[in-house]
């Protein structure tokens, strides 16, 4: 893959390039497109990598965005912005809807050629139905599961509708179940279960399949999508066979039974539960409710919640043939290898923290 001749790129602006996904996108562009100039725009500058120009900016402000676009004059804009969970509806709306609109319009006005938007596979998830080998023909969930996905879906729609306006090609990548170095949600949650000694419990039958995606593969899809859009010409009319103006599900393409994933994490950490206590989903949900109530009474973060319980019992996997056919997407890293890499990173982080405390 990496050895094939790549479409040369000029200036690339990665918005949100300091975040969990964004900084992996930066790394891959640097590796596969040494010819291009990479710029990062973010609200707070962290995860700094050498050879990249970092600019502080706010996508909700047109002036801030214009100033950066003027300076960078990018050919490609990649919007990986994603506010962390738990910030409230107003922030989501401001960032995912208003911010996307500002960035989209400013990019089009600035003569950007390719605009890649990071969306979420949850835009088709209503919070109740299973997602069984779902492809892009499934409509956006209505009503949405939560304000985050609701605003993400609005942003995605705007991006796809803006395709070819002002000569700018757009597309959206719907990611699902991200994990990897820098992860603050999935892997820490599963390591938390190990730390609390709760690995014996299994909620649900464990016959449900789940798509987890290694962050490098998700970032790789951004590189491929960019290359496809840059190759496009306005002379080719938009048809279902052209890659622009489309949304794509991106996963590792390796759905596995839900509990097999955390158990692999624990096994890599040297722990194998001697037996498993299987609880039906209903019991789990009741326990989750009780835990939430307790946590709420004690004003603490619950270790178990009804959402988490349902999360572990859902079928949630996707058919990614569209991305494979249209974008030439193939995951770079296998699921298991991705997990090993991720845990190595967590080991190093823990060592570093221990060293800091020791000082």
């Amino acid at each position: 893959m990496a050895s094939t001749k790549r479409q040369p790129l000029n200036n690339v602006l990665i918005v949100g390039g300091c975040g969990f996904l964004g900084h992996h996108v930066v790394t891959l562009f640097k590796e596969h497109h040494p010819e291009c100039q990479i710029f990062v725009m973010d609200l707070r500058l962290t995860n700094i990598q050498p050879g990249i120009t970092y600019l502080e900016g706010d996508i909700t402000s047109r002036e801030s965005v214009d100033a950066i676009l003027n300076k960078v004059k990018p050919e490609v804009v990649i919007d990986t912005v994603s506010p962390v969970h738990g910030l409230g509806e107003a922030i989501y709306y401001k960032v995912n809807v208003d911010g996307t609109k500002v960035l989209l319009e400013a990019s089009s006005d600035a003569g950007v050629k390719a605009f890649v938007f990071t969306s979420s596979a949850s835009v088709v998830f209503d919070g109740a139905s299973d997602l069984i080998s779902v492809n892009e023909s499934v409509p956006i969930a209505s009503p949405a599961m939560d304000p985050y996905t609701e605003t993400k879906a609005i942003g995605e729609k705007m991006v796809l509708e803006a395709n070819r306006k002002g000569g700018m090609f757009t597309l959206a990548l719907r990611l699902s179940g991200l994990f990897g170095p820098g992860d603050r949600q999935l892997i820490p949650g599963m390591l938390g279960v190990l730390a609390r000694g709760q690995t014996k419990f299994q909620i649900g039958s464990n016959e449900n399949l789940f798509d987890f995606t290694y962050i490098v593969n998700a970032a790789w899809a951004h590189v491929l999508a960019t290359e496809k859009l840059i190759e496009m010409s306005l002379d080719t009319p938009k048809t279902p066979k052209t890659p622009d103006g489309e949304a794509y599900f991106i996963t590792n393409g390796e759905p596995c039974y839900f509990w097999d994933f955390p158990r692999t994490i624990w096994a890599i950490r040297g722990h194998i539960a001697p037996f498993h206590i299987v609880m039906p989903a209903a019991v789990g949900i009741a326990m989750g409710g009780a835990a939430e109530a307790f946590a709420w009474l004690l004003n603490r973060e619950p270790g178990l919640s009804r959402f988490r319980v349902r999360f572990s019992c859902w079928n949630r996997y996707f058919d990614i043939r569209k991305a494979k056919q249209m974008l030439g997407y193939q995951p770079l890293v296998k699921l298991y290898d991705g997990l090993v890499e991720t845990l190595k990173w967590f080991d190093e982080q823990e060592k570093m923290e221990a060293a800091k405390k020791g000082q």
Binding site: S129, D130, S133, C256, A267, A290, A293
Partner: protein, 472 residues
């Protein structure tokens, strides 16, 4: 039938029922018209019965356009196999025979009596002129296909017979393993598929997807190779590729030592994983079959293979003896196969068994989970699960009651309060009860001590023992 078999069937009445049903009620789709057959053809079918009883039954039920062609194809390959297998034939005689077997098929009256006396199918070659005679009567297109495959397979076998490295050390890499299985099984599938397409019993598109055809053969062959570990080892043959077993053990012949059990189980599970990777393509292939008798003919070996795979997966007995699916289970499978849907259901049933036996102790734990997921996703692509009616109804109700997300959030908060209130009330009441008990003199300290010691029941009340003797 052995007593242990009878006891087994008594304990598994479903399987007993399946055997009886298969033997008594099973109606063949097509039956041979023996009265119209020449004596030589009848002799050929006798040979078929002698060489493989199970195969013979399914071949004889094939539609008339294919029955004789497939039967003769099978006997020809069996003849080739009988020459290849026989270690008493010197290489300088064996090699030219293998390489020219396709030409021999057209030599009227050709027979061979050079096999050792112990060779099981010796008689087939002694009377091979009967097969040649009937072969000449096949349609030309069928003869060409059979000859082509015979030529390729004969040459492949001759190459392996010449390959000293292979004969001493067995199969090296996974690529070698795939190639070996292609020669002994994939090629047969190729020939059969061409026969099916020629008689319009299968979708011609199958011929454009040779990897699907190959997977059909490889899934069967690889599963048998796993199952036959011990039998092959006792015959000094090794088919498990070195690339796999060296990850788990230093010496192939030590896999069956009891102290190596853990390594052996991990090794067998990696072998099963390798085999499982063909399962989805087998189902894909079966979707291209248009005739019921051909479907049964092709699907029955596949369901036997997935059942065998589930049986041998992490099964330590494989290293000690030859394990086999019980006859009753085999009959059940033959009764259940009927269409692609039921075949997929059978695959799912056995995949569930593999999933249950899979353990995080195994280095390939996640890879096996992913391989199973891949087959599940493939089945889902041909038979999608209908969208859960419950969720749809829930959503409809939500729209009907007009509950907005804000209201839902408020309701959620209310729910929290409610659960909180219940927990609080229960705690208060329990607290009061414990307090009252304590006021009335309950000795919680003693109770706890006793519980700590593991005395969960009150001591048995024995007034005599308790009364001080001195006062009596």
């Amino acid at each position: 039938m052995k007593t242990s078999d009878i006891l087994y069937l008594l304990a598994h009445p479903n399987q007993l029922r399946a055997i009886i049903q298969w033997k008594i009620w099973h109606n063949a789709l097509h039956e041979r018209k023996i009265e119209d057959e020449s004596l030589t053809l009848q002799r050929c079918f006798e040979f078929l019965d002698l060489t493989s009883r199970s195969f013979s039954a399914v071949i004889q039920e094939l539609c008339p356009e294919l029955c004789v062609s497939v039967a003769l194809f099978y006997l020809i390959l069996r003849g080739l196999d009988t020459i290849e297998d026989d270690m008493t034939i010197p290489l300088d005689i064996k090699e030219p025979l293998l390489r020219s077997f396709d030409v021999i098929l057209e030599k009227e009256g050709w027979t061979f009596d050079g096999n050792g006396p112990k060779e099981k199918d010796r008689q087939l070659l002694v009377e091979f002129s009967t097969v040649i005679k009937e072969f000449a009567l096949l349609p030309e297109s069928h003869r060409l296909i059979i000859k082509d495959i015979t030529k390729k397979m004969g040459n492949g076998m001759a190459d392996y017979a010449n390959n000293a490295e292979h004969n001493v050390n067995g199969v090296n890499t996974i690529a070698d393993y795939d190639l070996y299985c292609y020669y002994v099984a994939g090629l047969v599938g190729d020939g059969l598929t061409r026969l099916f397409v020629d008689t319009e019993k299968a979708n011609p598109a199958l011929l454009e997807r040779p990897h699907l055809i190959n997977s059909m053969g490889l899934f069967l062959q690889k599963t048998n190779i796993i199952r036959d570990y011990r039998e092959d080892l006792d015959d000094r043959r090794r088919f498990w590729p070195k690339e796999i077993w060296t990850k788990h053990i230093e010496k192939y012949e030590e896999l069956h030592f009891p102290e190596n059990e853990e390594a052996a189980l991990n090794c067998i599970s990696e072998m099963c994983l390798n085999s499982l990777q063909h399962a989805d393509e087998c189902l894909f292939y079966l979707a291209g079959i248009k005739d019921q008798s051909v479907f049964n003919f092709t699907a029955i070996p596949q369901v036997m293979a997935i059942a065998t795979l589930a049986l041998v997966f992490r099964n330590k007995d494989v290293f000690q003896r030859n394990v086999k699916i019980p006859k009753g289970e085999a009959c059940e499978l033959m009764l259940e196969v009927g269409n692609l849907r039921s075949t997929c259901d059978i695959f799912r049933k056995y995949m569930k068994i593999i999933h249950k036996k899979n353990t995080p102790k195994d280095p390939n734990y996640l890879n096996i989970s992913v391989a199973l997921g891949k087959v599940e996703q493939f089945i889902e692509s041909i038979f999608p699960t209908p969208v859960e009616a419950k969720a749809v109804a829930e959503r409809a109700q939500m729209q009907a009651t007009g509950e907005t997300p804000e209201q839902a959030a408020a309701a959620k908060k209310e729910m929290m309060y409610l659960i909180g209130a219940i927990v609080a009330t229960l705690s208060v009441i329990s607290g009061i009860m414990i307090f009252v008990a304590w006021l009335l003199g309950a000795r919680f300290d003693i109770a706890f001590q006793e519980l700590w010691k593991g005395n969960f029941r009150p001591p048995e009340y024995n007034p005599i023992a308790q009364a001080p003797h001195g006062e009596l």
